[in-house]
Amino acid sequence: MSVKLNTRQVGDVSVVDVAGRITLGEGSSALRDALRDLINKNQKKILLNLGEVNYIDSSGIGELVSGFTTVTNSGGNLKLLNLNKRVKDLLQITKLYTVFDVHEDEAGAIRSF
Protein backbone atom coordinates (compact mmCIF):
# COMPACT_ATOMS: atom_id res chain seq x y z
CA MET A 1 0.00 0.00 0.00
CA SER A 2 1.32 3.41 -0.92
CA VAL A 3 0.19 6.92 -0.22
CA LYS A 4 -2.99 8.73 -1.27
CA LEU A 5 -3.24 12.49 -1.34
CA ASN A 6 -6.23 14.75 -1.73
CA THR A 7 -6.04 18.53 -1.69
CA ARG A 8 -9.03 20.67 -0.76
CA GLN A 9 -9.42 24.37 -0.22
CA VAL A 10 -10.84 25.74 3.05
CA GLY A 11 -10.95 29.51 2.66
CA ASP A 12 -7.42 30.51 1.72
CA VAL A 13 -5.88 27.41 3.30
CA SER A 14 -4.95 24.39 1.19
CA VAL A 15 -5.58 21.24 3.21
CA VAL A 16 -3.73 18.17 1.97
CA ASP A 17 -5.25 14.96 3.31
CA VAL A 18 -2.56 12.27 3.31
CA ALA A 19 -3.33 8.58 3.79
CA GLY A 20 -1.10 5.51 3.78
CA ARG A 21 2.67 5.30 3.95
CA ILE A 22 5.17 8.08 3.38
CA THR A 23 8.28 6.06 2.58
CA LEU A 24 11.19 6.12 0.17
CA GLY A 25 9.93 5.95 -3.40
CA GLU A 26 6.37 6.62 -4.42
CA GLY A 27 5.13 7.86 -1.05
CA SER A 28 7.77 10.53 -0.62
CA SER A 29 7.71 11.68 -4.23
CA ALA A 30 3.91 11.98 -4.28
CA LEU A 31 4.04 14.28 -1.26
CA ARG A 32 6.86 16.30 -2.82
CA ASP A 33 4.88 16.70 -6.06
CA ALA A 34 1.72 17.77 -4.21
CA LEU A 35 3.58 20.45 -2.24
CA ARG A 36 5.44 21.68 -5.31
CA ASP A 37 2.15 21.94 -7.17
CA LEU A 38 0.65 24.10 -4.41
CA ILE A 39 3.73 26.35 -4.30
CA ASN A 40 3.58 26.77 -8.07
CA LYS A 41 -0.05 27.85 -7.68
CA ASN A 42 1.17 30.45 -5.18
CA GLN A 43 -0.63 28.85 -2.25
CA LYS A 44 0.96 30.25 0.90
CA LYS A 45 -1.05 28.48 3.60
CA ILE A 46 -0.71 24.72 3.57
CA LEU A 47 -2.06 22.31 6.17
CA LEU A 48 -0.88 18.70 5.93
CA ASN A 49 -3.45 16.40 7.48
CA LEU A 50 -1.52 13.26 8.46
CA GLY A 51 -4.42 11.64 10.33
CA GLU A 52 -4.53 8.62 8.02
CA VAL A 53 -0.77 8.18 7.73
CA ASN A 54 0.05 4.90 9.43
CA TYR A 55 3.72 4.71 8.57
CA ILE A 56 6.54 7.10 7.85
CA ASP A 57 10.25 6.33 7.45
CA SER A 58 13.38 8.47 7.54
CA SER A 59 12.86 9.36 3.88
CA GLY A 60 9.31 10.49 4.68
CA ILE A 61 10.60 12.58 7.56
CA GLY A 62 13.12 14.09 5.16
CA GLU A 63 10.30 14.91 2.77
CA LEU A 64 8.34 16.70 5.53
CA VAL A 65 11.45 18.73 6.39
CA SER A 66 12.06 19.49 2.73
CA GLY A 67 8.44 20.55 2.26
CA PHE A 68 8.57 22.76 5.33
CA THR A 69 11.75 24.46 4.12
CA THR A 70 10.50 24.92 0.56
CA VAL A 71 7.17 26.40 1.64
CA THR A 72 8.82 28.67 4.21
CA ASN A 73 11.43 29.87 1.69
CA SER A 74 8.66 30.74 -0.75
CA GLY A 75 7.07 32.96 1.88
CA GLY A 76 4.42 30.49 2.96
CA ASN A 77 3.49 28.46 6.02
CA LEU A 78 3.26 24.68 6.28
CA LYS A 79 1.54 23.22 9.34
CA LEU A 80 0.73 19.67 10.42
CA LEU A 81 -2.59 18.27 11.57
CA ASN A 82 -3.73 15.07 13.31
CA LEU A 83 -0.50 13.21 13.96
CA ASN A 84 -1.05 9.69 15.25
CA LYS A 85 1.08 8.43 18.11
CA ARG A 86 3.68 6.75 15.90
CA VAL A 87 4.27 9.79 13.72
CA LYS A 88 4.30 12.06 16.78
CA ASP A 89 6.84 9.78 18.50
CA LEU A 90 9.03 9.82 15.40
CA LEU A 91 9.02 13.61 15.23
CA GLN A 92 9.80 13.78 18.92
CA ILE A 93 12.78 11.42 18.87
CA THR A 94 14.18 13.25 15.85
CA LYS A 95 13.64 16.57 17.68
CA LEU A 96 11.46 17.86 14.86
CA TYR A 97 8.21 18.06 16.79
CA THR A 98 8.91 21.60 17.96
CA VAL A 99 10.10 22.68 14.50
CA PHE A 100 6.66 22.09 13.03
CA ASP A 101 3.49 23.88 14.05
CA VAL A 102 1.35 20.85 14.97
CA HIS A 103 -2.42 20.96 15.48
CA GLU A 104 -5.05 18.44 16.57
CA ASP A 105 -8.11 20.34 15.45
CA GLU A 106 -8.67 21.35 11.82
CA ALA A 107 -10.76 24.44 12.52
CA GLY A 108 -8.19 25.69 15.02
CA ALA A 109 -5.36 24.93 12.64
CA ILE A 110 -7.03 26.89 9.85
CA ARG A 111 -7.66 29.85 12.14
CA SER A 112 -3.99 29.84 13.19
CA PHE A 113 -2.70 30.87 9.75
Binding site: T23, L24, G25, D57, S58, S59, I61, G62, E63, V65, S66, F68, T69, R86, L90, I93, T94, K95, L96, V99
Partner: protein
Protein backbone atom coordinates in the same frame (compact mmCIF):
# COMPACT_ATOMS: atom_id res chain seq x y z
CA UNK B 1 0.92 -18.67 18.67
CA UNK B 2 3.58 -18.65 21.42
CA UNK B 3 6.73 -20.70 21.19
CA UNK B 4 7.84 -22.80 24.08
CA UNK B 5 11.06 -21.84 25.87
CA UNK B 6 13.06 -24.71 24.47
CA UNK B 7 12.43 -24.15 20.81
CA UNK B 8 15.08 -24.66 18.17
CA UNK B 9 16.54 -21.39 16.82
CA UNK B 10 14.96 -20.45 13.52
CA UNK B 11 16.82 -18.59 10.80
CA UNK B 12 15.61 -17.17 7.53
CA UNK B 13 18.32 -16.15 5.09
CA UNK B 14 18.08 -14.50 1.67
CA UNK B 15 20.31 -12.97 -0.96
CA UNK B 16 18.26 -10.01 -2.19
CA UNK B 17 18.46 -7.77 -5.25
CA UNK B 18 19.40 -4.14 -4.81
CA UNK B 19 15.86 -2.85 -5.28
CA UNK B 20 13.23 -1.17 -3.17
CA UNK B 21 11.09 -4.33 -3.55
CA UNK B 22 13.76 -6.10 -1.50
CA UNK B 23 13.11 -3.63 1.32
CA UNK B 24 9.49 -4.84 1.42
CA UNK B 25 10.58 -8.50 1.20
CA UNK B 26 13.03 -8.15 4.09
CA UNK B 27 10.45 -6.39 6.22
CA UNK B 28 7.93 -9.17 5.54
CA UNK B 29 10.44 -11.90 6.38
CA UNK B 30 11.53 -10.24 9.61
CA UNK B 31 8.00 -9.45 10.73
CA UNK B 32 6.80 -12.96 9.89
CA UNK B 33 9.43 -14.51 12.12
CA UNK B 34 9.03 -11.89 14.85
CA UNK B 35 5.29 -12.43 14.90
CA UNK B 36 5.69 -16.21 15.18
CA UNK B 37 8.18 -15.59 17.98
CA UNK B 38 5.56 -13.64 19.93
CA UNK B 39 6.84 -10.07 19.73
CA UNK B 40 4.06 -7.56 20.52
CA UNK B 41 2.66 -4.93 18.16
CA UNK B 42 4.89 -2.15 19.46
CA UNK B 43 8.01 -4.28 18.99
CA UNK B 44 6.84 -5.37 15.54
CA UNK B 45 6.51 -1.75 14.49
CA UNK B 46 10.03 -0.97 15.72
CA UNK B 47 11.52 -4.08 14.13
CA UNK B 48 9.77 -3.33 10.83
CA UNK B 49 11.04 0.24 10.75
CA UNK B 50 14.59 -0.74 11.70
CA UNK B 51 14.68 -3.44 9.02
CA UNK B 52 13.39 -1.01 6.39
CA UNK B 53 15.96 1.62 7.33
CA UNK B 54 18.83 -0.88 7.28
CA UNK B 55 17.70 -2.31 3.93
CA UNK B 56 17.29 1.17 2.41
CA UNK B 57 20.79 1.97 3.59
CA UNK B 58 22.16 -1.19 1.95
CA UNK B 59 20.22 -0.84 -1.33
CA UNK B 60 20.46 2.91 -1.82
CA UNK B 61 23.66 4.06 -0.12
CA UNK B 62 25.60 0.77 -0.12
CA UNK B 63 24.89 -0.99 -3.40
CA UNK B 64 23.47 2.14 -5.08
CA UNK B 65 20.78 0.06 -6.81
CA UNK B 66 23.53 -1.87 -8.67
CA UNK B 67 21.89 -4.91 -10.29
CA UNK B 68 25.15 -6.87 -9.97
CA UNK B 69 25.30 -6.44 -6.22
CA UNK B 70 23.27 -8.28 -3.59
CA UNK B 71 22.06 -7.52 -0.11
CA UNK B 72 22.68 -10.43 2.26
CA UNK B 73 19.85 -10.57 4.74
CA UNK B 74 19.20 -12.92 7.62
CA UNK B 75 16.89 -12.97 10.60
CA UNK B 76 17.25 -15.40 13.50
CA UNK B 77 14.96 -16.05 16.43
CA UNK B 78 16.62 -17.76 19.37
CA UNK B 79 15.28 -17.81 22.92
CA UNK B 80 13.85 -14.33 23.54
CA UNK B 81 15.95 -12.54 20.95
CA UNK B 82 15.57 -11.59 17.32
CA UNK B 83 18.82 -10.92 15.45
CA UNK B 84 18.86 -9.36 12.00
CA UNK B 85 21.88 -9.01 9.75
CA UNK B 86 22.01 -6.84 6.65
CA UNK B 87 25.17 -6.75 4.55
CA UNK B 88 25.79 -4.88 1.31
CA UNK B 89 28.51 -5.09 -1.35
CA UNK B 90 29.10 -1.37 -1.67
CA UNK B 91 32.11 0.83 -1.05
CA UNK B 92 31.52 1.09 2.67
CA UNK B 93 31.78 4.26 4.72
CA UNK B 94 33.30 5.59 7.89
CA UNK B 95 30.66 5.27 10.60
CA UNK B 96 32.36 7.97 12.66
CA UNK B 97 31.83 10.43 9.83
CA UNK B 98 28.03 10.25 10.07
CA UNK B 99 26.68 13.61 11.23
CA UNK B 100 24.56 13.70 14.40
CA UNK B 101 20.98 14.23 13.14
CA UNK B 102 20.00 15.80 16.48
CA UNK B 103 22.64 18.53 16.34
CA UNK B 104 20.94 21.90 15.81
CA UNK B 105 22.84 22.52 12.59
CA UNK B 106 21.61 19.17 11.19
CA UNK B 107 17.98 19.23 12.33
CA UNK B 108 16.67 20.53 9.02
CA UNK B 109 18.68 18.16 6.84
CA UNK B 110 16.50 16.10 4.55
CA UNK B 111 18.48 12.89 5.08
CA UNK B 112 20.83 11.20 7.54
CA UNK B 113 18.35 9.89 10.11
CA UNK B 114 18.21 6.21 9.11
CA UNK B 115 20.92 4.78 11.35
CA UNK B 116 19.84 7.02 14.21
CA UNK B 117 16.32 5.55 13.96
CA UNK B 118 17.66 1.97 13.87
CA UNK B 119 19.62 2.65 17.07
CA UNK B 120 16.50 4.15 18.65
CA UNK B 121 14.27 1.19 17.85
CA UNK B 122 16.57 -1.76 18.56
CA UNK B 123 18.19 -2.95 21.79
CA UNK B 124 21.59 -3.54 20.23
CA UNK B 125 23.08 -2.26 17.02
CA UNK B 126 26.44 -2.82 15.41
CA UNK B 127 27.75 -1.64 12.07
CA UNK B 128 31.11 -2.57 10.65
CA UNK B 129 33.01 -2.89 7.41
CA UNK B 130 32.97 -6.34 5.85
CA UNK B 131 36.27 -7.94 4.93
CA UNK B 132 34.97 -8.45 1.40
CA UNK B 133 33.86 -4.85 1.09
CA UNK B 134 30.65 -3.11 2.01
CA UNK B 135 29.02 -2.75 5.41
CA UNK B 136 27.29 -5.19 7.71
CA UNK B 137 24.70 -4.18 10.25
CA UNK B 138 23.55 -6.35 13.13
CA UNK B 139 20.28 -5.46 14.81
CA UNK B 140 19.07 -7.16 18.00
CA UNK B 141 15.66 -6.93 19.64
CA UNK B 142 14.85 -8.63 22.95
CA UNK B 143 11.30 -9.63 23.67
CA UNK B 144 9.54 -7.31 26.12
CA UNK B 145 12.60 -5.08 26.42
CA UNK B 146 10.87 -1.68 26.29
Amino acid sequence: MRENKHHVPETVERSLDSTLESVDSAEELALGLAERAGFDDDDLMKIGMAVRESMVNAVVHGNRYNANKKVHFSVTHAAETLTIRVADEGEGFDVESLPDPLAPENLMRTSGRGIFLIRSFMDEFDIRRRERGGMEMTLVKNKGSR
